[in-house]
């Protein structure tokens, strides 16, 4: 979303370093970017509301496709 570009940029920067240098190397602690993620997704949710994009709609997955997969709970 255009209005969240600044948040996204900050978060992506943090995530990319964490993903490459921490997560792929065995660390599961994702707290380093969690505040940035929160601000960013908060902005996106607001933007989606304004644009009438409904969140519930994509909380769908297909048991037939992936019996093992349970999607994360909302929020």
């Amino acid at each position: 979303m255009d209005e969240c570009k600044a948040f996204k940029k900050e978060y992506d920067k943090c995530f990319n370093i964490w993903f490459r240098d921490k997560f792929l190397k065995g660390s599961n602690d994702d707290s380093v970017c969690s505040e940035l993620l929160k601000s960013y997704t908060g902005c996106v949710k607001e933007a989606m509301k304004e644009k009438d994009i409904v969140i519930d709609d994509f909380r769908r997955y297909h048991p037939k496709i992936s019996p093992d997969y349970e999607p994360p709970k909302n929020k």
């Binding site: 599961n28 989606m48 709609d57 999607p71 994360p72």
Partner: protein, 249 residues
Amino acid sequence: MIDIGDKAGRVFEIDLFLKYKFVLFSIHIVIMVKFFENKSLFPFRWDQVVHGFWHRYPNPESKHVLSEDVLHREVKEKKLHSIRLFTKTNKLPKWGERFINTNVVKIVEESILDPSKKTLVTYTRNVGYASVMGVTEKVVYKVNEENPSTTVAERSVWIESNVYGMSKAIQAFGMQRFKVNSTKAVKGFNYVLNSMYGSNTSSSTGVLLHQKEKLKDALKQTNYKTGTLYVQQLLINSYLRFHQIYYEQ
């Protein structure tokens, strides 16, 4: 292929009829058919591919992608779960314009990345349009056992619909488009990987290893009834909207 444009008025009539019928008798028949799968090779290590996965956009060939956003992300049981939302402009052939209410397409991508097993599984589906016709694509990225410095991607596509006649629609649409689009997807991703890591081999455009058409199975599982033209239209729109985010322009 199909002369949809000339039949526009008729299609609309059938649309209304089906909706009316569905409400009146509460008919809920959901058909889900896996009708396409293929396997492709990336000449990059798995960790390079999954890192590149988060950088697929923007690229010079993705100007139609309006936004790419993270909706949710967490580490659960040592796996990274992400949900992303994409919006894109809707560039359909002229005949398609009259059927489309909105010019923005929404695509949701759910992914689970397991660093210990070295797998990335992604589920991508269209949103908002899915009540009549849903397209879901699953891709599994994993280390190529025959050559661990490369990565394979196994792609499956499902179509879900509550309307009869789907199989005929698939047939009419033509499998050729699916083949072409899959190749384009691999090519696009490799473009990004090349710009991140340089070329690993002399031919780094990605290789389509094999693909299987599920059309015959699809025909067995669904019935062809009236309203085929309408369904063809839905399928084509749905598929175009879904796949343009990856492949077109």
